[in-house]
């Protein structure tokens, strides 16, 4: 259990408000190393309940690395070492007692490229609830699959072909299938790593609308290279540069009157 004391006394160079009134995830003084190379430097930030927050910054700034720390996806990289503390509901997610599979069900992830399993549409969504024992009957599983596909805005398009392969869907539909798969296990947080970068503008708009809807029930952390996307869908935006969290604040403030010169230069297209 992470102690309440000193959680809000952290020293940080980050400009803006790193704290949230209702934090779901609390990150304090997080450093990440790949071997000798430090990829994340002393990052502290809260992710609030039911907020949509975007991580932006130039390639290699560490935004995806930091995102992957939030559900321990970096555990799969041997040379990766994470220091500092990250807690979910005040529970240290790096504690050795934590079951990583359960953690990743609570903190789901959607990747850049849609990656449906080579199974049917139904099985793609049903797989998670099955392995986590979330349903006790076929009817219950059907209910979860239908609701997840409805929440991901895909139900009307696939309800008559649930046994067709998931890989046969269009790119945008596959990505919404992956989102349905993530929400089928009742996560509390969804991490998205450039979820629209492989999609056309219409499919992107559908995913953005879906993110807006999902933001009413989940915390969503999205890494994006599209600043317009960050501006359209997130309530808060965090700007990373060279592994540091430079500035975080309300999206409308970051895009109209950022306090930091580096943030201003990046969002205005002056550094990349």
């Amino acid at each position: 259990m992470v102690s309440n004391s000193n959680i809000n006394n952290v020293k940080t160079k980050t400009i803006g408000e790193i704290f949230s009134k209702d934090p779901k995830i609390i990150c304090r003084n997080v450093d990440v190393f790949y071997g000798e190379k430090q990829a994340i430097k002393d990052v502290s930030i809260d992710i609030a309940s039911r907020e949509i927050i975007s991580f932006i910054g130039p390639s290699g700034c560490g935004k995806s690395t930091f995102l992957r720390c939030l559900n321990r996806m970096n555990d799969t990289i041997d040379t990766c070492k994470v220091k500092g503390s990250i807690s979910l509901d005040k529970e240290d997610i790096y504690d050795e007692k934590i079951d990583v599979v359960t953690l990743r069900a609570k903190i789901g992830m959607v990747f850049q490229k849609p990656n449906p399993f080579p199974k049917s549409i139904y099985e793609n969504v049903a797989y998670g609830p099955k392995i986590h024992g979330l349903s006790s009957s076929k009817e219950e599983l059907d209910f979860i699959v239908e609701n997840s596909l409805k929440d991901s805005g895909l139900w009307e398009e696939v309800k008559d072909r649930l046994q067709s392969p998931g890989t046969g869907l269009s790119g945008g539909q596959q990505q919404r299938l992956c989102i349905a798969r993530a929400i089928a296990v009742s996560p509390e947080i969804i991490l998205m790593d450039e979820p629209c970068s492989a999609l056309d503008p219409i499919a992107t708009a559908k995913i953005e609308e879906l993110i807006n809807q999902l933001g009413k029930n989940y915390s969503i952390v999205i890494v994006t290279h599209s600043m317009q996307q960050a501006a359209r869908i997130s309530q808060r935006t965090a700007y990373f540069h060279l592994g540091e969290l430079i500035e975080v604040g309300e999206t409308k403030k970051i895009f109209t009157m950022p306090e930091d010169k580096q943030t201003e230069a990046y969002i205005s297209g002056r550094i990349g």
Binding site: M257, K261, E264, A265, I267, S268, G269, G272
Partner: protein, 235 residues
């Protein structure tokens, strides 16, 4: 601007917008200064020339508005770039209006030229015009140099124009009540003075747009005001 954009054509658009806006500022200043000069010299030929030139300001304003819309639509400007485009659009409209008031002053001056000089109240329009001209020149320098302090100074100078207008209003009314022959010319002069006072207000608007452009927040609204003409005659 901090430094150049990665996309050089974005810089080209912003530079073009800025260049056109400064050109419009120069034209509006010339029109205003000439309208005050023409009031003194009453040269009909110059007055007609000034009135016909007003269309140039209208055309340039339209061009700036078009370019501004295109930049917003195609470049999606952010932060200072966004403030620069929005401010340019607003300032352009204001400069075009200053041109309109200069034309109004000239129309009234032309009418005064037809009247006998004995029937015109002797008031100091030139001095009021000069203070306004200095404000207009200063606010353009403040825009070019991103000078926040000069913008505030210009805004606060508007009170001088207001006081001059109130004093002039009282003088013209007294003159008209003393000599009924002065009513026609006095009315024209009141409208000329009001036009100059409105130009002062527009210069103040530009100063406020400058401040927003530089600082990203509006200038507080508690600026000194002293136009009491609307209260004249109330005990």
């Amino acid at each position: 601007m901090v430094n150049e954009h990665i996309l050089s054509s974005f810089d080209d658009d912003l530079h073009k917008l800025n260049k056109d806006l400064l050109k419009l500022a120069k034209l509006a200043t010339e029109q205003f200064v000439n309208s005050i000069d023409n009031f003194s010299t009453q040269n009909i030929e110059e007055i007609d020339k000034l009135i016909s030139k007003d269309k140039n300001l209208d055309d340039l304003d339209e061009k700036i508005q078009q370019l501004g819309f295109e930049i917003i639509a195609l470049r999606a400007p952010q932060a200072e770039d966004l403030r620069r485009v929005i401010s340019a659009l607003k300032i352009s409209t204001v400069l075009e209006r200053i041109g309109d008031y200069s034309r109004n002053i000239s129309n009234r001056t032309k009418a005064l030229c037809e009247l006998s000089s004995d029937d015109i109240p002797g008031v100091n329009i030139g001095k009021m015009g000069l203070v306004t001209q200095e404000m207009l020149e200063d606010v353009i320098i403040a825009y070019k140099d991103k000078d926040s302090d000069l913008s505030i100074k210009v805004r606060d100078t508007d009170v001088v124009i207001d006081k001059m207008n109130t004093k002039l209003y009282q003088e013209v009314l007294s003159s008209m009540s003393r000599n009924k022959k002065n009513i026609v010319s006095g009315t024209h002069i009141l409208f000329i003075a009001k036009s100059i006072e409105r130009v002062g207000d527009y210069v103040t608007d530009i100063a406020e747009h400058n401040y927003f452009l530089i600082n990203g927040k509006p200038l507080s609204d508690n600026r000194p005001k002293a136009d009491k003409t609307s209260l004249y005659g109330i005990d």
